[in-house]
Amino acid sequence: MKSLVAVSLALKKVKPGLFKPRFVKAASFVIAACVLAIAQSSAPIHLPQVHLDADGLNPRPIEQLTGTTVAHHYALAWRDLAAALESGRTEGLGEEFVGFAHDRLMRRIGEQEQAGVHVRIVDHGHNLKAVFYSSDGTAMQLLDQAQLEIQTFDGNKLLDTQNAPHQYIVLMTPGADRWYIRDLEEVSAKSF
């Protein structure tokens, strides 16, 4: 079954090739990208909404295609993360997470399973702000203001529900055909 998934991206882009500050013109624009995703199973895929703001990004401006890809894979990552935290199944995490982020998630989900705990995330969207993009294009750091409802269960018993905004600092690196999350750390609003 095919499902239509909309990922909207607000990408404020600095014109490419202009590294000297006096030549840099920050042009902000909004892209609404509709992405067709082909579901492999009969279950529909729902991607969380991700808005990316790359205004004033240093030391390298972001290209439009890169911004679209980053936002798309960030949305995929949160979909897979939420699914893994709820089901305890970790198979899909390697598609979007690598390095420390992957290792930590694998441990977390393994220990959740042992404790009989699981977490349900109702994702109301992410406002991503790109704050660093290395000049060789190998790393991008982003801050995420996420609207999440997080329910924690022990078995079927609901232990806790959190409905406050969540803040994350994210490090993403490019792979052959996608951007991976290499580090994902939640921080308090005060630290953000």
């Binding site: 977390r108 790393a139 750091q141």
Partner: protein, 309 residues
């Protein structure tokens, strides 16, 4: 039931040794987060041991309670007795991030609180130097980026000054400083005038990480050739091909010789060998020959095999 400042004080009084030392800053009310029956510190350093009191009052006072700790890479579930303390081990809080604590009493009434684990002091630098080869004397051509991590490989958010020490193969070294922002420090610099290796070391406290890049000659400068005629053949040979800083272009760099005579236009690409490019042409009548290397044009000569140069 709300804890009062007085009961905070009573809890602090019960702490001993290193736990007390660590807990002292929290005992002032801004350092504590209090949610119902839970009293947790607002922030903890990664890998630090502390304890969370299980308040023995109200409903939580009867029967066993269940304590949950959910962190970025760790989940703890323990049965605890009201009035006791839950010891949080160093291994429980190694990953930086927000941790959720949930305490459920025997009647399934749950209270939750969160605390933040912040990265420990810097212990590792992840250092990238770009590119690996760069032409000499090129503006803003070298980029250095350092990510600062603690001993548990948490990104260290607190601003820190990273010293980038540049040591060229020849000439004096110098350094640049960058302050981390969100755990990242970077700097951009010009390449130096002389070819050879350049070592760049990122230094933060007693943590050092070094990378080496190779500076190579830039584009050719003042490219010139001379001709030697022999019969209907002309040998063309460049002067030693150097860049504007006097560095010899590496062997293998292609130099193009282009001849235009009555038979038309022909180009020969030849690599530099021992700093010089050499080629031989057959010339019929008069010919114009030019030389180029990359984007640089050299001199042009007119040749006439039967009429002299």
């Amino acid at each position: 039931m709300k804890r009062t400042t007085r009961s905070n004080f009573a809890f602090c009084k019960r702490l001993t040794g290193s736990v007390l030392l660590f807990a002292l800053p929290w005992c002032a009310s801004p350092g504590w987060a209090q949610a119902g029956k839970l009293l947790v510190p607002t922030t903890v350093g990664a890998g630090q041991t502390f304890s969370i009191p299980v308040v023995g009052s109200g409903q939580a006072g009867s029967g066993q309670a269940t304590f949950y700790l959910l962190g970025p890479d760790h989940v703890v579930k323990r049965h605890v007795s009201p009035g006791s303390e839950v010891q949080i081990q160093s291994s429980d809080v190694r990953s930086a991030g927000l941790y959720q604590v949930i305490l459920c009493d025997s009647k399934s009434s749950c209270t939750s609180a969160t605390f933040e684990v912040k990265a420990a002091p810097p212990a590792h630098l992840s250092f990238f130097l770009h590119p690996s080869r760069v032409p000499v004397s090129t503006r803003d051509s070298i980029d250095a980026t350092a990510f600062v991590f603690d001993q548990y490989f948490n990104l260290v958010w607190a601003p820190a000054v990273v010293d980038f020490r540049i040591t060229p193969a020849s000439g004096t070294g110098f350094s640049r400083r960058g302050t981390t922002r969100n755990g990242v420090a970077w700097m951009r610099m010009d390449s130096t005038p002389h070819e050879g290796s350049v070592r760049v070391t990122a230094v933060l406290g007693n943590v050092e990480e070094a990378r080496v890049i190779q500076q190579v000659a830039a584009e050719a400068c003042a490219l010139r050739m001379k001709t030697v005629a022999s019969g209907n053949r002309v040998t063309l040979e460049t002067d030693p091909v150097r860049d504007c800083s006097g560095n010899t272009l590496p062997d293998g760099t292609i130099v193009s010789f282009t001849k235009i005579d009555k038979l038309g236009k022909s180009t020969v690409d030849t690599p530099i060998k021992k700093g010089i490019a050499r080629v031989q042409f057959s010339v019929h009548g008069r010919a114009q020959i030019s030389v180029a290397c990359g984007v640089v044009l050299g001199n042009e000569v007119a040749v006439a095999v039967n009429g002299g140069l």
